[in-house]
């Protein structure tokens, strides 16, 4: 059978060579394509200790174990998140500069601020992973017991009821106006007093101290005040009730529009991320958000962990952005600067 062992050998050598070449070609292309091959920077556009920082750093713990390269978490705060967001927008969309996207940087600021140096369309989303229900609350000893009481009071004496926020163009700024508008106050900008304060903690304290009448903010920021019977919740904006908040949901009150009014965190990137990078992150996010410790820490802080796919995230953000933009246009709330 073996008439020509030389030919066979040649064939074998050739075959092996082809195989080796193929493998090496594969290895080369693999080395080029295999993301990540160097450390990834995760920018947090807010200062240490804030809600975004804690959320992002908590996620970075399981992510750091999953991602084969180091994940560097850096805070780049300033101008309500604009400084950090701009630095990410200007980075190359190669998956090595990512950011913790947040309701403030991605929907509220672009909807409200006319002079914002970036646009929502300049970013891409690999996954929204956290939803923060919004709750409205007044001081415990207030005679306002429900949203209807609040609205009746505003209508009875315009420009006497005030609400606090963590600054112009914050979620709290838009939330207070949007909530009472849904309940029939036609022009909240004219009929309410908006008192901006430095940060969410100061905003909640202002209601406690009587500086402002009510506040609408992330339920986690109010949880301890509600548990301590210092503040009384009037409503939560989610479909499901929020544990610890004995208040009707927006669904109970028949205001489904308010379901859009929630805080959220996700992982974002500059526009133009390669598809394989998005795919990698989709897998990583899935694994990281099912981490037991992460789930426990975040849930205890009052967050709802719910991972959206990149497509769902983009749709969710776009919808919220459009809703906020419309509200801002209707009410003339745009910050012209």
């Amino acid at each position: 059978m073996m008439k020509d062992p030389g030919r066979l050998r040649r064939a074998a050598v050739l075959g092996l060579a082809t195989l080796a070449a193929g493998m090496s070609a594969f290895a080369v292309s693999d080395a080029r394509a295999e993301y990540p091959d160097r450390p990834i920077t995760l920018v947090i556009a807010y200062g240490p200790g804030g809600a975004t920082d804690i959320s992002g750093r908590s996620l970075a713990v399981p992510l750091g174990k999953i991602i084969p390269q180091p994940l560097l978490v850096v805070n780049r705060a300033g101008a309500g998140g604009a400084t950090g967001a701009v630095s990410v927008r200007d980075a190359a969309p190669d998956g090595y500069t990512m950011m913790v996207s947040r309701v403030g940087t991605h929907t509220v600021n672009p909807a409200m601020k006319a002079t914002l140096p970036y646009k929502l369309a300049e970013f891409e989303e690999v996954g929204v992973y956290e939803i923060n229900p919004v709750a409205c609350a007044v001081k415990e000893d207030s005679d306002i017991k429900s949203m209807d009481d609040l609205v009746a009071k505003i209508k009875a004496a315009p420009k006497t009821v005030s609400y606090s926020s963590s600054g112009v163009g914050s979620l709290l700024h838009i939330a207070g106006a949007m909530a009472v508008r849904e309940f029939g106050v036609e022009n909240p900008v004219e009929e309410l007093i908006h008192i901006p304060l430095k940060g969410g903690g100061a905003a909640a304290t202002a209601v406690l101290a009587g500086t402002a009448t009510f506040i609408c903010t992330n339920s986690s920021a109010l949880a301890s005040f509600v548990a301590n019977k210092q503040l009384r919740p009037l409503m939560v904006t989610t479909k499901e009730p929020v544990p610890g908040f004995e208040a009707p949901t927006a669904a109970d009150l028949g205001k489904p529009n308010l379901h859009q009014l929630v805080g959220w965190s996700g992982i974002g990137a500059p526009k133009g991320l390669p598809a394989e990078v998005t795919e990698k992150w989709r897998g990583w996010m899935k694994e990281a958000t099912s981490d037991k410790d992460f789930l426990e820490t975040m849930t205890k802080r009052g967050s709802v962990i719910q991972l959206m796919s990149p497509e769902e995230s983009a749709a969710f953000i776009q919808k919220q952005y459009e809703l906020f933009t419309k509200l801002v246009n209707d009410l003339g709330m745009r910050v012209e600067g």
Binding site: P48, T115, L197, G201, F225, N228, Q230
Partner: protein, 505 residues
């Protein structure tokens, strides 16, 4: 259960190895982080937070409190040795600490910083334990109008830290106010001096300004005249604070501690204004008034007791109301919540043992701070021995890294160098830097609170007189200004008389 039952129930929570290790470890981390310029106590606490999730609640919280307290003290070490405040809270310590180091008394200044810090820390902790409820309800009666008058009064500090010339002090304060307006304004989000630059929209970073203003001018001055200090080797400064000196400063330390407690219990002010207020009060009342700013031991005692007095007191609104007084306590609230604890009045009922365990832990922390701080001083003291030709470049590198680390932004480093040149210009013209800094800190607070008060009242000015607190601070402000004017007039007439006496001869 009465207090003693609570104490008995809480003791086992604290009296274990983990709690002591957590406190000692926390203080050590804090002192080291505080001593590195640009690495603030806030950052150290934020970076330690994730490690506490896996610990027992009390151990984790004690670790964070240790970092906080260590950080506030640690900041005074570079402030004294290299004129670079390690944390914003220690900027007032520079005023007398660095001149003392220049005179070869670094050891003494550091010792006094430690003694004042520990004494104030203890007083602050005891105030927390005894007056938490009372001070908390007082703090809640501070709305924007009350804040406005308090800040207005605090601005009179400028006169106390202006040195010889009030006019130059006011000039520096105006510079400070002007630069503090850069960025987005709070009430309408207006861009001020931002030139459409995203970096400028965030305003000038406080730490970059601080380091630029104090540390960089020293380096520039040295580069300009590198041989000016040749032959003049700064002594290691083995001198210690004697008991007599401690007793002489004791009144100042107590006063500073209570200023710290008072300002610390009001959310939103922080440790740096407390240190400056304590300093200017000490100067106003001291027989050695002339020596302040030139290396007066009492000045170091005043500022260090002022800033450490804040440390325990910021826990008053935190524990009694669930309100974070500053960024650090906001992070610590996060640590409570991760462990399912809700700080606030109910916690005294529901988790009284944890509250009392924290109290005991805090008392222990003051003692531990004394020993760990002592070791740190002994280690860091040798920095004064390093020749300036080696020290200055090292400080420069440290400053650049530190300022970059705050926000991971090169822009802040540029701000630091520009501020450095401004500081150098001021140094050469004997314009004091401290009023600049005070205006930079307090100016935005004054504006924000004024505008918030006006929003509350729809523009009616009578809201600025709505409570006895506002009347108190209006009165205090006018009295201080009247006293300043009177002293100024007397000095002028004395000078005129002296002139007349010499010309008539």
């Amino acid at each position: 259960m009465n207090v003693f039952d609570d104490l008995a129930a809480a003791w086992p929570l604290v009296a274990n190895l983990e709690s002591f290790l957590a406190l000692a470890g926390g203080i050590t981390i804090g002192v080291i982080a505080g001593a590195i310029p640009g690495m603030s106590a806030t950052m150290a606490v934020a970076l330690t937070l994730p490690f506490t999730f896996a610990m027992q609640p009390i151990t984790g919280i004690l670790l964070l409190l240790g970092v906080y307290k260590g950080g506030i003290f640690g900041g005074s070490i570079p402030a004294i040795l290299i004129k670079t405040p390690g944390t914003p809270a220690s900027s007032a310590t520079i005023l007398d600490g660095y001149p003392m180091a220049e005179k070869g008394q670094a050891g003494k200044a550091l010792d006094m910083a430690l003694y004042a810090s520990c004494t104030a820390d203890m007083i602050s902790n005891l105030s927390l334990i005894m007056f938490a409820g009372w001070l908390a309800s007082f703090a809640l009666s501070f709305g924007p109008p009350e804040f406005f008058t308090l800040i207005l009064f605090s601005l009179t500090i400028i006169a106390g830290v202006s040195g010889d010339s009030l006019i130059k002090g006011l000039l520096a304060a105006v510079f400070g106010l002007l630069l503090a307006t850069v960025g987005l304004d709070l009430v309408y989000g207006t861009n001020r001096f931002t030139f459409n630059d995203a970096n400028l929209m965030g305003g000038l970073n406080f730490i970059a300004v601080l380091i630029g203003l104090f540390a960089i001018p020293e380096i520039l001055a040295y580069v300009w005249r590198p041989r000016s200090d040749k032959g003049q080797i700064r002594a290691l400064g083995e001198q210690h604070v004697t008991f007599a000196e401690y007793r002489r400063c004791f009144r100042t330390i107590i006063r500073g501690s209570f200023i710290g407690v008072f300002l610390g219990s009001i959310p939103g002010i922080g440790a740096a204004p407390a240190a400056f207020l304590s300093y200017s009060e000490a100067r106003r009342r001291s027989p050695n008034k002339k020596n302040f700013g030139k290396g007066e031991l009492e000045g170091v005692a005043a500022s260090e007791s002022g800033n450490n007095g804040v440390a325990g007191a910021t826990l008053i609104p935190l524990l009694a109301l669930g309100v974070p007084g500053d960024v650090i306590t906001a992070i610590i609230i996060g640590a409570f919540m991760v462990h399912g604890l809700q700080p606030g009045p109910m916690m005294f009922v529901a988790n009284a043992n944890i509250i009392y365990a924290l109290f005991m832990g805090l008392i222990i922390s003051s003692v531990l701070l004394f020993f760990i701080g002592g070791v740190a001083i002994r280690m860091f003291r040798y920095i004064v021995d390093v020749p300036k030709s080696v020290l200055m470049p090292a400080v420069l590198i440290l400053c650049v890294f530190g300022v970059y680390a705050v926000n991971n932004n090169v822009f802040d480093v540029i701000v630091m160098f520009l501020m450095g040149w401004l500081g150098y210009f001021m140094l050469r013209n004997d314009i004091p830097a401290a009023p600049f800094l005070i205006a930079f800190i307090l100016g935005p607070l004054l504006e924000d609170n004024f505008r918030q008060a006006m929003l509350m009242s729809n523009g009616a000015a009578d809201i600025l007189f709505r409570s006895w607190i506002t009347w108190f601070f209006w009165g205090a402000t006018f009295l201080t200004i009247a006293a300043l004017v009177r002293t100024g007039l007397r000095q002028r007439s004395e000078a005129a008389e002296a002139l007349r006496a010499t010309t008539s001869e």
